[in-house]
């Protein structure tokens, strides 16, 4: 659906150059909800804005539905844009127009009969559950309602792709959840491909089937969300992947292991098996179970009193049982 090849973006202001994106390669399949996550300044916005050319890519190609967006002339670019809508962190609604007219806006840009516009806008109002707000103005809406209008407006032109730039970052957790469910429904019902930019891990966990981690303008990691989360992160991606829980320094003595369990291994009583088979004491430091799109991933931090040789055997044993293990401290 979207194929990004060797994309780079350099901002030039006078003599200053900022390389915001460096050699990005990504593929988004039809029907994906593709999450792009990274710290502030990682280049997330630059990346998503290159896709509809709100920013001009410096080098590289971006294919959307087989069409290279980068080489399009003004007129073709405008029609390509109608097939990929965008929603924004600040909603960007027209304050002078009612909710209904905001949703009808993209339809009024193309010459279609008034009756069709009425039908389509009414249908979209229903989809985002704002029938009763049809004649309200954006200033009379809550943040969540504004974003619903943003979503309905984005869907009006019946796009193939929905680009979301921090669409939930201005919303509270509960509203975020509602908006994400709405996006997920749309993805299922309409088969819409969605690209989501966020700095919140929870957004990715909740709805993205695939994820790319961006840092310093590079793609640091990409793949299925569940895979990325179940394997221990490297230095640069750890920040996002690992749970927030910090283990106090003084607890980090002896052999400390981080374990992660996925579907295949969550049901095995692995700890009691280790204690029995290797005759060691296992001390649980912390643990939790996370849900990533209804699949569970167990995260457990344990302390084992044993020598190095046995430790390697234990790790081996864990891996055989589909439990990923990472030593974070050697005793």
């Amino acid at each position: 659906m979207i194929k990004i090849n060797n994309l780079s973006k350099i901002y030039t202001k006078g003599k200053n150059e900022v390389a915001a994106l460096k050699d990005i390669n990504l593929q988004v399949a039809k029907g994906d909800i593709y999450g792009i996550i990274g710290l502030s300044g990682a280049g997330k916005s630059s990346l998503i804005r290159c896709i509809n050319r709100l920013e001009e890519p410096t080098t590289g190609d971006i294919y959307v539905n087989g069409i290279n967006i980068v080489t399009l002339k003004d007129k073709e670019l405008r029609s390509a844009r109608k097939k990929m809508s965008m929603i924004f962190q600040n909603f960007n609604l027209l304050n002078s127009k009612t909710v209904f007219e905001n949703i009808a806006f993209p339809l009024r840009l193309i010459k279609i009969p008034e009756q069709k516009i009425q039908e389509k806008a009414t249908e979209l109002l229903k989809l985002v559950e704002l029938n009763d707000k049809s004649n309200s103005y954006p200033s009379q809406l809550s943040g969540g309602q504004k974003q619903r209008v943003g979503i309905a407006r984005a869907l009006a032109s019946e796009p193939d792709v929905l680009l979301c730039d921090e669409a939930t970052s201005a919303l509270d957790p509960k509203t975020t959840h509602q908006i994400l469910s709405l996006l997920k429904n749309i993805n299922k019902q309409l088969g819409l491909t969605i690209v989501i930019i966020t700095h919140e891990m929870d957004v990715i966990k909740e709805i993205c089937n695939r994820v790319a981690i961006l840092g310093g303008g590079y793609v640091l990691e990409k793949g299925n969300t569940i895979d990325i989360f179940s394997k221990p992160g490297n230095k640069t991606t750890k920040h996002f992947i690992e749970d927030q829980q910090k283990i106090p320094e003084k607890m980090l003595s002896g052999n400390i292991l981080n374990l992660s369990f996925t579907d295949g291994s969550a049901n095995i009583p692995i700890i009691s098996k280790i204690t029995r088979e290797f005759n060691v004491d296992v001390n649980i430091v912390s643990g939790k179970i996370e849900y990533i799109q209804e699949k569970q991933i167990g995260k457990l931090t344990i302390q084992i009193d044993t020598d190095r040789h046995k430790l390697l055997d234990i790790i081996d044993y864990l891996n055989k049982n589909h439990v990923k293990a990472e030593v974070i401290n050697h005793g």
Binding site: L77, S79, A80, R81, K82, N92, N95, P106, L109
Partner: protein, 216 residues
């Protein structure tokens, strides 16, 4: 009293005629100029650096001319347009030329206030620059534009009094002829009162309308 009123009525009519026709033409010319000033900017929807620089320069030059000098300076042009340099209709020409750059700057400020995010949203929806101007920039700036027109209108009333003294007629002319040249202070006061009422009415009406349009 009846005497004063019979003097005032025709002068008021002349003023209203001059002011409203001038305002109409000023808006007609100034609005597009103000929009061009914004949209031809480097990072806007129709970037055109040389047009922007030239337009901005012309506007600044026109605005730096004192009005009374401008009237005299453009006399040949006025004659060419209306066939004469004297009278109410002839006064409209310098009024429009003086007020248009002023109004264009006001339009520029109003249009710049429109949230760039909204413009980007419409670009992302595939809107053409013309559609963005007509369907986004103008409607979003409308409330502020109405206030701008109100200010311009009141400014033109002030200018029209000056134009009156050089043969344009209207209230300014009346006050000047009776108050200054014939020392009939009652006529001058009556004129001032009419002007105050006129300005107040226009300002309140403009405020009210702007408030009504504003949906923020």
């Amino acid at each position: 009293m009846a005497n004063i009123i019979s003097l005032l009525i025709p002068s008021l009519q002349e003023t209203l005629y001059m002011v409203f026709i001038s305002t109409l033409l000023t808006v007609l010319f100034g609005l597009p100029l103000g929009i061009i000033l914004v949209t031809s900017d480097e990072n806007h929807i129709l970037p055109n650096k040389s047009l922007n620089t030239i337009l901005s320069w012309i506007i600044n030059v026109t605005r730096s001319l004192p009005f009374i000098i401008l009237i005299i300076f453009i006399l040949p042009f006025t004659r060419w347009v209306v066939g004469t340099t004297i009278g109410t209709t002839a006064a409209i020409v310098p009024l429009v030329i003086a007020a248009t750059p002023f109004f264009a700057r006001i339009v520029e400020t109003s249009i710049r206030e429109v949230d760039w995010g909204v413009v980007e949203a419409s670009i992302s929806m595939g809107a053409t620059p013309a559609q963005i101007i007509v369907r986004v920039l103008i409607p979003e700036a409308m409330s502020s534009l109405v206030l701008g027109i109100t200010i311009t209108l009141i400014n033109i009333i002030g200018y029209s009094a000056m134009a009156g003294t050089v043969g344009g007629g209207g209230l300014g002319d009346l006050a000047f002829r009776y108050g200054y040249q014939r020392f009939q202070n009652d006529v001058m006061f009556a004129t001032i009162i009419v002007l105050i009422i006129l300005v107040q009415t226009i300002q309140s009406f403009g405020n009210h309308l702007a408030q009504k349009i504003n949906k923020n």
